[in-house]
């Protein structure tokens, strides 16, 4: 591969281009009409417009993207994450067009995209899955027996379900039949089908995932875990490695399961095996993501390996750069995701022009961003605008470094979650490593931004007028320039 088209936008497109550039590989960006001046489009060697702003008319148009690769002479396509990255048809079409798809086999993408098929495959491979019952025999006595063997608490879910309807948590056996009745009533009312499934309910799980990598020569390695328990409405906002829950023994068992999960499908390229880890140390396969992960930089910081470079080498048919025993982790790494959203107002996504932008710098401080001053945050795409990643000797050092770096991150023009992230990094339970998927709901349900420094901030508005005009690429921004309101001057002797 001499030239790669990146079928994505924002920070991940920028990040992939950096590695391509280091490797002497040409870069082609695709951009929607509103993104033609965006950072990823500015950074690429070439840029092709693939349609109007809505993703369905641009970044999700497989044919347009493949056509762009052909017309620019790109010989490989990197899908990034999101958009078409886990679309098996796209992977097939890219390869059918004689191009390299930088990712796993299309059949594997398809298999892992199905919750039921992947779960069956995992059971065959001996990877633990959440114990449950998902069968046709629905009489209460049978379900009751199944419930006993799964254990409590457990979850009753409508098979046809979604949105929490027909879903019941049962904490003890003597409540089971009563809750089953209620669940079946709800399921009938909502979906016209009272079939339910039973699943062990994990009260306070952690989200732990393993980075795996395979090549076409049968090599398969893992690059340790990432803990992503800090989530808001199933959206990860802070990730770290190693996990505070990890012991060498547990890591060994989980890594073995992760490699088995990838091995049973002869996985190639980068993948992530996600698990739920229960408080008793048992863990269960959740799903496998068949692409690079948003939070991959913490693994890169920990191991010193460039995962995009690995992806390109594997896609070229080369063996993995390292054997398992050559991979080691150094210290601790943590990432926070910076979103254009307003934590004081229900975390609503924010749109606007970035009028002021200042990234923090420092030893082992990495910013993967998709924006610069003058860029527009539009309604069309994900509001994540940057990732701030640090590495340090231990977790305490990492939290200190991250707090300092967040305070030095200046983004003006849209509201962001930076202060919210800072509050997490100061919260005692977080600092003790007591991180579960319900962490934010438990500790930050009533979050209010701190305005203890409002008077100092008001005083500083006096400095808002000074000489920033030259930095702005936007004509529409005006400043309180005292020189523009000069009246009544005359010369003196």
């Amino acid at each position: 591969m001499k030239k790669i088209l990146i079928a994505n936008r924002g920070e991940i497109a920028v990040r992939i281009m950096k590695t391509c550039r280091e490797m002497g590989i040409g870069t082609v960006a695709v951009a929607s009409e509103v993104d033609m001046a965006a950072k990823h489009a500015r950074m690429a060697d070439e840029v092709v417009c693939i349609g109007p702003a809505p993703a369905i008319e641009s970044y999700l148009r497989a044919e347009a993207i493949i056509e762009a690769a052909k017309s620019t002479g790109a010989d490989g396509i990197h899908p990034g994450f999101g958009f078409l990255s886990e679309n098996a048809e796209f992977a097939k079409a890219v390869r059918a067009a004689g191009l390299v798809f930088i990712g796993p086999q299309a059949e594997v993408i398809e298999l892992m995209g199905s919750k039921q098929a992947s779960k069956r495959e995992m059971i065959r491979a001996g990877v633990p899955v959440v114990p449950g019952y998902n069968g046709d025999k629905q009489d209460p006595e049978h379900l009751s027996e199944q419930a006993e063997s799964i254990g409590f608490p457990l979850l009753i879910k409508a098979s046809a379900g979604g949105g929490g309807k027909g879903m019941r948590i049962v904490h003890a056996a003597d409540r089971f039949l009563e809750e089953l009745e209620a669940a079946k009533r709800e399921a009938t009312a909502a979906f016209g089908d009272d079939t339910v499934l039973l699943e062990k309910y994990l009260t306070r799980p952690r989200h732990i995932e393993f980075q795996v990598f395979g090549d076409e020569h049968g090599n398969l390695v893992h690059l340790f875990e990432r803990e992503c328990s800090i989530q808001r409405r199933h959206q990860k906002i802070l990730e770290e490695t190693p996990s505070t829950a990890m012991t060498p023994e547990l890591r060994g068992r989980m890594a073995e399961a992760a490699v088995a999960a990838a091995g049973c499908v002869s996985y190639t390229n980068a993948g992530t095996v996600e698990f739920m880890l229960d408080e008793d140390g048992s863990f269960y396969f959740l799903e496998m993501n068949t692409r690079l992960q948003v939070e991959h930089p913490i693994t890169e910081m920990l191991t010193g390996q460039d995962l995009v470079r690995w992806q390109i080498e594997v896609a070229r048919g080369n063996p993995l750069p390292l054997r398992q025993e050559e991979i080691s982790g150094r210290g601790h790494s943590m990432e926070v995701r910076i979103y254009a959203e307003d934590p004081a107002n229900g975390f609503l996504p924010q749109t606007g022009t970035i009028v002021g932008y200042h990234e923090p710098q420092g030893l082992d401080v990495r910013v993967d961003s998709g924006v610069a001053q003058g860029d527009e945050i539009s309604i069309y795409y994900d509001p994540m605008i940057a990732k701030l990643v640090v590495r340090g000797a231990d977790r305490r050092t990492v939290c200190e470094k991250l707090r300092n770096a967040l305070a030095e991150y200046g983004i003006h023009g849209v509201r962001t979650n930076i202060a919210f992230l800072l509050a997490i990094l100061e919260e005692p339970h977080f600092l003790k490593g007591e991180t579960r998927t319900d962490y934010l709901a438990e500790h930050f349900a009533d979050y209010r931004a701190d305005d203890g420094l409002i008077d100092q901030a008001l005083a500083l508005t006096a400095l808002g007028a000074s000489g920033r005009k030259a930095n702005s690429r936007e004509g529409g921004v005006a400043f309180n320039d005292p020189w523009s309101s000069l009246p009544a001057w005359r010369g003196t002797k």
């Binding site: 003006h412 920033r468 005292p482 009544a488 001057w489 010369g491």
Partner: protein, 162 residues
Amino acid sequence: MRKQFKLGDRHFKIDWTGIHPLHGTIHEGEEVREFKLAAPASGSGRLHLGDRTVPYFVTGVAGGVWVTLAGETFFFENSKGKGGADDSHDGFAAPMPGKVIKVLVNQGDVVEKGQVLMVMEAMKMEHRIEAPGPGTVTAIHFQADDLVDQGVHLLDFQPEAS
């Protein structure tokens, strides 16, 4: 210099009497709070808070001012003065660092439109502070020979109710 802002349902009126250091008062409702802060006179830098400094960034835009201080970001939206005019652009802000050379009125004086209230000098240029309309001089913050920073609020003026 005076600016008026709102943040949510809070309203602020800020009067600066000095920029080096930042010195002045904040009026919020009935409350008046004073501030005095040593900060570099540029859009970004570090501000002394106790025995530490914290980073700040300030960006002025047409509708207000963005301020980030120690990781907290505020957008202060411009709000209008009593007379309906945005008095962050009133004629009473010192346009540049300089010296007050004459004060021609006293506190409480009723003045006419165009009447010269104060004269200052900077870089060999003389600047006359004139009344924008009929009204009353309600406060004078500097006397002859005082040195003033750019942007500081020189005097208070209450326009005549029309």
